[in-house]
């Protein structure tokens, strides 16, 4: 196996050699494409069923299809070549019309290694370069041998860091300079925590979907749940004891049914959590933060410290009571929807604080001076929500009152249901908007609040991109404005400030923003 050869600096004039990904990745991609092939094969089988074609013809058809797909996969693999230059990576693709893309290492937000189960069996990994410029701009090499992927990632990162250190005296911030290759564990998710996290990720959505599916797809069940015969037969057999036991037992049965749904919801959350968060480890090295997780599909992401724009700490109403929190880094890479930069899935306040401080975003402490947002904020928010829903309800009832439309819509309590939803949503908005507070100190802007899902945002004053004061008619009448702050990869809003206070806040932020250029920050 060829190892990654990064040409020495200065050999820029000589084009680096073009290479292909590992040949075994062809096998991996083809096997993972098998489920996709099932559809055309089934279509073939179904469409030829009536024609009484001999099995040999159908069989050879399938073989031919498989061969064609394999040939296409091989061509795609053969015509995809990459080259690693001194400070860029180039990818050439296309069968006849070749397209070449160069990605300067400077523009790489973070490099991740992903190992789906099958690739892992072959010791392969996908190397993904995230640019933060949207999905289409990201570049991934599927697949390289793991060791080679790691070497490539380290090479990219070293080069970029050297570049950065040579170019800007300010360098990365939050930097308690770590020795070169030493990694210290910042956070690791124990197995007990993993299962606790699984419980919190209980999915109500799955339960609802399942309940809906039982109604929609009852024809798939091996019995008919709506035919009296089914239940008579059941009651005559094993169920007769239940029926004899009377209403109490039947209630128990209904509860059992609900319990089963609940269990499925819990199990779904548990399985999903164990699959993604297994072995969650966050380490800190000179290169930045490194996160490894996953049971079957293993991912290994490196996040440079200086790319972190803000820290988001979230919890839930139950979790908060039990003292559990989760944390996420906000960065451009996460913005593109590609990276999910969870750094602490479930941890104690002190653990979250340790990670946040390592990134240069200290959490608030007892000395933090909080300012409550206007007490008018929750009712205003609720009013605005109620207004939007009122328009929706009015529109819906107007549409339903048109005779031809009403004829096509199945009868049902649509409007009362919509009103109930509106009331629920309005109440939710009101509760979430209560107790919002913010704090500005010499270096950071913080905001916290929320009731069902409390959250805390910590932003670096210097990393704010823009400031917007915004008001609608309600806020305007009261002399209040919302302050929207642009953050690369996220957003932060301080609601309902009196106009003079908002102006002072803007002025203070502009003062700290003009200190450093964005290219040193993003």
């Amino acid at each position: 196996m060829t190892s990654v050869t990064v040409p020495p600096a200065g050999s820029r004039h000589r084009a680096p050699p073009l290479r292909r990904t590992d040949p075994r990745s062809l096998l991996v991609t083809m096997v993972s494409a098998l489920p996709n092939m099932a559809v055309p094969i089934l279509a073939l089988l179904f469409s030829t069923r009536g024609d009484r074609l001999p099995p040999s013809v159908v069989g050879s058809g399938i073989v031919l299809l498989a061969l064609l797909l394999a040939l296409a996969a091989w061509l795609r693999w053969h015509r995809t070549q990459f080259a690693i230059g001194t400070d860029y990576i180039r990818l050439e693709t296309g069968l006849l019309a070749r397209s070449a893309r160069s990605l300067p290492f400077d523009r790489v937000q973070d490099v991740s290694l992903e190992q789906p189960l099958l690739a892992r069996m072959f010791g392969l990994a996908a190397v993904k370069f995230e640019t933060g410029a949207g999905k289409g701009e990201d570049l991934s090499l599927t697949y390289l041998p793991l060791a080679e992927g790691e070497a490539l990632r380290d090479a990219v990162r070293r080069r970029r860091d050297d570049h950065r250190i040579a170019g800007s005296p300010s360098g990365a911030k939050g930097g308690d300079a770590c020795p070169d290759d030493e990694e210290s564990v910042l956070f690791a998710l124990s197995t007990r925590r993993l299962f606790a996290l699984g419980l919190f990720r209980f999915s109500l959505v799955v339960v609802a979907l399942l309940a809906g599916a039982v109604q929609q797809f009852d024809f798939l069940l091996p019995f008919d749940p709506y035919a009296p015969d089914t239940w008579e037969a059941f009651l005559a057999g094993p169920g007769s004891r239940l029926a004899a036991a009377g209403a109490g037992a039947q209630t128990l049965g209904a509860l059992l049914g609900a319990g089963v749904l609940l269990l499925i919801g819990i199990a779904t959350g548990m399985v999903r959590t164990v699959l993604t968060e297994w072995g969650f480890t966050l380490t800190r090295s000179r290169q930045g933060f490194r996160r490894r997780r996953g049971l079957l599909h293993v991912t290994d992401v490196v996040m440079p410290v200086h790319r972190v724009q803000a820290v988001l700490v979230t919890t839930g109403i139950v979790r908060a009571r039990l003292g559990w929190y989760g944390a996420k880094f906000v960065s451009l890479a996460g913005d593109a929807g590609a990276g999910d930069h969870v750094v602490v899935p479930l941890g104690r306040w002190a653990e979250v604080g340790l990670v946040a401080a390592a990134a240069g975003f200290p959490l608030p402490d007892a000395g933090t001076m909080w300012t409550r947002v206007s007490p008018l904020h929750p009712p205003l928010q609720a009013l605005a929500t109620a207004g939007r829903w009122a328009v929706l309800v009015l529109g819906a009832s107007a549409v339903l009152s048109i005779a031809p439309v009403a004829a096509t819509v199945p009868a049902g309590p649509w409007i009362p249901a919509l009103i109930a939803l509106a009331v629920l949503r309005t109440a939710w908005v009101w509760l979430e908007a209560r107790r919002q507070e913010w704090s500005l100190d010499a270096t950071h802007l913080r905001k916290r609040g929320g009731w069902l899902s409390p959250r805390l945002q910590v932003a670096d004053r210097e990393r704010i991109q823009s400031v917007t004061l915004r008001r609608g008619p309600l806020l305007g009448a009261l002399g209040l404005v919302d302050v929207h702050l642009g953050i690369a990869g996220g957003r932060l809003m301080i609601p309902a400030l009196p106009l003079p206070q908002a102006r002072r806040l803007r002025h203070a932020l502009l003062d700290s923003m003009r200190k450093r250029d964005f290219s040193a920050l993003v």
């Binding site: 451009l332 991109q465 404005v481 957003r491």
Partner: protein
């Protein structure tokens, strides 16, 4: 209040946009008016209401939209290139007031659609990093003015450190 937030100087007065921008706003409002009229016609026909019950009010609203609103909108737009940042304010009922320091500008665009071109206008857009709420759009500038502002902002963007 926060001790480290210094008293701000009074916000400098905003410059108005090019007066030719009003006719662009009128075209935009005209589209809404047409949509409203079409909806009123369709609603009347579909619900079998007496003629004029919906269309007359719609006609009235359309007249206000086209005749009165664009002028008001225009007066509410304003911008200021103050030292090291650009400020753009707009809107009366829904008011917004953006400020972007030049140190945060990633790139600058000057664009003009066919309607703007016919009036000699251009739109200046400043982009910052990120994907939401990351651009400040300043339409309705005389094209030469937009180009001049682009150059002056470009000159003020600090040299990239990388």
């Amino acid at each position: 209040m926060h001790s480290d937030a210094p008293a701000h100087p009074a916000d400098t007065p905003l410059s108005p946009l090019d007066p030719r921008f009003v006719s662009l706003l009128r075209v935009a409002m005209g589209r809404w008016a047409l949509l409203l009229l079409a909806a009123a016609f369709a609603g009347e026909a579909a619900a079998g209401l007496p003629a004029g019950l919906l269309t007359l009010p719609a006609l009235l609203i359309s007249a206000v939209l086209v005749a009165v609103v664009p002028g008001r909108q225009y007066r509410r737009w304003g911008y200021a290139q103050e030292g090291d940042h650009l400020r753009v304010a707009r809107g009366f009922v829904f008011h917004s007031d953006h400020v972007v320091p030049f140190t945060r500008v990633q790139h600058i665009d000057v664009t003009r659609g066919p309607l703007e071109r016919a009036r000699g206008l251009g739109t200046l857009t400043l982009y910052t990093a990120g994907t939401h709420n990351t651009s400040v759009v300043l339409p309705g500038l005389a094209h030469e003015q937009a180009l001049a502002m682009r150059e002056s902002i470009r000159a003020r963007i600090p040299r990239r450190s990388a």
